[in-house]
Structures are given as C-alpha cells and as structure tokens.
Symmetry: C2
Subunit: 343 residues, 2 copies
C-alpha cells in the first residue's frame, strides 16, 4: 500500500506497475509512468495520475497498442521520424529525442515528426527534454475536434496544444504549453456537473451563437483563444502537425476515435533549434541576452510561465508528492483490478 | 505625372525612382518598391506606399544604410544567414530566399536568419515567396518596444509580427500575418488624433491600469493579444527572432533608434518546411489533405485569412491600382523633393 507523501521514484514505480498489469510492455509503461508522474510532481493534476484511468480505458477499447515498439526512421537531412506504431507518444518521443538533439546540433536546426501515436500527456515535458540538452524547442499537435474556427459553428480543430522552451543555464527553462482553445472540453464538463455557468467567450451553441450554458456548449463547440489570431494558429497546427507530417487532423482523429471519452491517435511535430549555431559569428551570447528579457519581465511585476509548476516540483523533490486518501485508494484499485477498473 | 488607375509595374517603377532619388542603390530600391507596391496592390494601405515617407525619414536620420549590399553567409547545415549590413530587410530576404528554399528541399527543413536589417514591410510577402516555391513557411521578428507583457506595465515587446504560409496548388496560399499586440501603436495614434476612445483591452496607462484614453495609452503600453498566451508567443518571438540569432530584442531596438517615428533595425527569422519531405513514406498527399481543412473552414461560414487581400490583388492586376488625388500628389512631391520631402 502506498502512503503519502511519496517520492517521485516510488510513485513512478507504482504507476509503471499499474500499466504493466494493464498489459503494457515495459517500453510503453516506463515513459508513460515518467511523464504522468512528472505532471503530478509539478502540481499539474489535470496531466497527472488522474490520466491513468483514461489510458487504461483507451487500451481496453482497443485504441492503443500497448506493446508497440516505436521505430526510428531516420532519413538524411533535418527531419527525424519516429513511427509510434499506435502506441503512446512518449515512448516514441524518448526514442527519437537523442537523435533529434544530435541532428539539431549538427545542422543548427532539426525537426522530429512522430506518427501514429496516442496522446495523453502535456507537451512541456518534451520541450524541457530539449532545453535540458541546451536547445530551444517548439512542440505542437492536433487533437480531436472540439473547437470551431472563429466565425464558424462546428468543431473542426482540437484544443491543439503549442509548447515552447528556451534553456536557462543553471535553472529551470523558460517554458510555456497552452491549448489554443480558450478552455478545455473537460473544464466545460466540470461546469456542467457543478451546474455553473461558463465564462463568456468560451463556447458557442450548435447554431454558432455565444453561450454560457455548459450543456449548449457541449452540443456546440469551444472557441479558439484570441479570436481570429488564435484560430489561425490552431489552423497552422492542423497543417504542420497533421497534414504536413502525413498524419490525422483533428476531425479525422475524432472520426477514427468515435468517442470523446478516449485518447486520440494522431501525430506530433517537434522543432529543435541550437541557439549556439544560430548566433554563431554574431559576437553575442544568446542565453545571456535572453536573461535580460526574463529579468525585465519579472522586474515589472509580470510573471514567467511555469513558475508555479517549478515551485511544486521543488517541493515534491524535497518532501515527496502529496496524494490524498482518494488518490491513494484509486491507485490501489487500479493496481488490483487492472483494465477491469475502467469501463 | 502618374495617373490612376496605375499598373503594378508602373507604380513599382515610380516608387523605385523615388527611392533612387533618395539615395538608395538599385539593389535596395528595387526590393523595397516591390514589397510596398505589393501592399498597395493587395489593398493593405497601412503597408503600402504610405510607408515610403517613413523609409525616407529613416534614411534622412541616418538610421538605414541605403547603399548596403547584403551578404549571404551560408554555413553548412540547416541555417542560411544573410547580413543585411544595416540596409532594409527585403533586399536581404530576396538574396537569401533561393538558398533557403534549396536548402529546405535538400534537408526537408531549413531556417534563414537575417541580421541587422531595417524593417518596414509586412511579413506576408515573405511567406508567400516561399509558398510560391512549394514550401510552408513561418516568419517572425521583434520590433521596437511598445507592448507590455501581460501582468506588467512597461513596454517590453514590439508588435512582433508572426506570419505563416501554406502552398495551395493552383491558387493563392493559405497565409496569415498578424501583430502579437491587440492593436498597432499607429491605430492608437489615429484614435488620439480623432479624439475617439480606444476599444477596451487595447492598452494600459503608465501605472499599468486599463485605459481607453489614447493619450494615456501612448504614455503607457499596448497589450498583447489573447492575454498570457499572446504574451508568451511575443516572448518566443523576442527569443527566436532576437536573442537566438544574435540580434536586437525590441527594447534594444528602441534604445538604438531613440524615436518611434523611425523604422527599427533588428533581425528576422524565417523557417521553411518541405511538406513533400515531411510526409514522405506516409502515403498521403499533404496538400490534398490541407484542402479538406480549408473546405471545412469555408463550408461552415468561417473565413480563411488574406481573402480580402487576394480579392484586391485580383482587381489590381486586372484593372490597375486605384490611387486618389492626394496619393498621386504625395508621390509627385516625394519624387520631386526626395529626402527634402520628409522632416
């Protein structure tokens, strides 16, 4: 029986055991345990152990290949490709990232396309894996369609996350990771269950009219952040992270999935930049220059993204991750019942 | 004396003559005439011939090197660098773009860093130059600081434009180009002159409080679009298009310039992706797939970006560009008086 607080390593082992009991190969279970526990460690409950059940449900529905062995298809040039073979994205990412980093350092700039992967985790662990290697990074992917284009009325885009990371020598990176929708569908569902109204600007009803009623929003669509500009960025993510890499766009992913209770399968695009190469010959230190910007942001009372996450991480690493009784019981139930624990 | 309507070629020749009379080398004058007339052709008055005077004013103030010969510094790898040598960005872009495109097709993915260039034009002509060659493209650059980070109170970012283009076989590309501020400083100045209030959400006063009073906004700062998400994207542009390529960030550009009546000097980053290479082996046509997305956007009554621009372009190419009497008189004055026409 687990107890709280629990160390990152002990929780990772426990989650890995749950996945292995659910039929995952160790090659799939390890990366998935690491990335979900990273979310829990950083206080990101929505991308933490809460997601284990969704993973198991997707496996039980036959929508994830949990013994897949991702395959590195490393062509010449600036593109590294990993075929996830219907397994989760994170094992494919872990396989490809050393090659991507090596290629970015050799050429200055490289991209990784991950194909045919099941998506569940946040993208910030990916950009952080690259900032840890001294590289700047962008990661993006489609999702399943829940978001209407600005001026439209039907779901077409996913929440289409976009993440960016910049290495800060000696400290946590500058990193952001956000949905290009105003809110996540899950947040609308929480308002629906709680009987509360949505903030204005989150959603439209099935006729394309603004609504603050959760039930109407769930029949209609979410909206992109930032009006037509956010809608344009979400379109770009469909194109680069879907059409361009020969993988599913959000409407296609939704059709294949046939449910919004399961995790979608699509592709993902990761870009890695070597600031040392990009600034070569210019006589300036890109990392020192970036610190001037960060100091100016913080110096005027604005916040850098991810700071709450880093504070939670420091606390978790020092004193362990705090789980409540319900969370401990849920982990015990998942460990005991495996795929039987989910419907 | 010019008359209206005027053909694109005739207006380009006339604008090039104005620049040559202002001391520009033909290597600087040609690209600048082409890009400003492209704006006028597309009905983008704010990036059209209206900007000639700003170019001349910047030259007169000694802030642009109008006889600069941009230098291609083509290292191995995925980075193409062009040193603009203090001239305008567009001559440097025209020099580098064939090499960038060739490199993107060879490696799948390449980047161009333009350094030390004076900025005046929109970025959509750049992404369109790459979509014309079958490539997807992103272009971004800092500006001079007029925009506060979300939660802050002082100008730190520029309006930091971000542009994206995707080739559409047989038609105009999917393209967007927007400022990462809610509005441009020029729009606030127009409200100031007209004595009208600003829309809410555009700006803050010098104490960081929201304001709709133009004079207070001009003493304070503009705001990023989309709250903390737009602020994060603007930060990314400062890092990638400034610090990373060894060039000025927006606060540095403002300090060097010492004015907001002149055009800033900084760098620019352009990324080029070859969708044929990214989708290789996947058995899907990325361009055909993208059309499904565009059809779905238009089919539900939403708009694709740039359509008004393309309609204006078609009209200009067919019937010439319409200029009013004031615009014709201004062109005549600039041609006659050269740098003496601006203060």
């Amino acid at each position: 029986m687990l107890s709280s607080p629990i160390s990152v390593d002990a929780l990772t082992d426990a989650v890995e055991e749950i996945f292995v009991a659910g039929g995952f190969s160790t090659g799939q279970a390890g990366p998935m345990a690491r990335v979900l526990v990273a979310g829990e460690r950083d206080g990101c409950k929505s991308h933490g152990i809460y997601r284990i059940a969704g993973c198991l449900r997707t496996v039980k529905a036959g929508k994830a290949n949990v013994t897949a062995v991702p395959e590195l298809q490393d062509a010449d040039g600036a593109i590294v490709r990993v075929d996830a073979k219907g397994g989760f994205a994170n094992p494919a990412f872990e396989l490809g990232v050393p090659v991507l980093a090596e290629r970015a350092k050799a050429l200055g700039f490289a991209a990784m396309a991950i194909n045919d992967c099941v998506h569940v985790a946040a993208l910030w662990p990916e950009v952080e894996a690259l900032t840890d290697l001294g590289l700047a990074a962008i990661s993006m992917c489609p999702s399943y369609s829940t978001v209407a284009p600005t001026g439209g009325r039907e779901p077409l885009f996913g929440t289409n996350p976009f993440a960016f990371g910049w290495p800060r020598p000696g400290g946590n990176p500058y990193a952001f990771d956000f949905a290009t929708s105003v809110a996540a569908r899950g947040e609308v569902e929480l308002h629906h269950r709680a009987g509360t109204s949505l903030p204005e600007g989150w959603a439209i009803d099935a006729d394309g009219n603004p609504t603050t009623t959760p039930a109407e929003a769930l029949e209609g669509a979410l909206l992109p952040f930032g009006g037509h500009k956010g809608s344009a960025i979400s379109t770009m993510i469909e194109l680069l992270g879907g059409a361009m890499i020969g993988d599913l766009m959000s409407t296609e992913a939704a059709e294949v999935l046939g449910s919004n209770r399961l995790l979608p399968r699509h592709g993902e695009l990761v870009l890695a930049f070597d600031p040392v190469r990009f600034s070569a010959g210019r006589g300036t230190d890109p990392f020192a220059k970036a610190e001037i910007l960060f100091d100016a942001i913080v110096g005027q009372g604005a916040r850098l993204p991810s700071q709450r996450r880093y504070a939670a991480r420091a606390e978790s690493l020092k004193n362990g991750i705090v789980l409540d009784a319900d969370e401990l019981a849920e982990l015990a139930r998942l460990a005991a019942e495996g795929l039987g624990a989910v419907d």
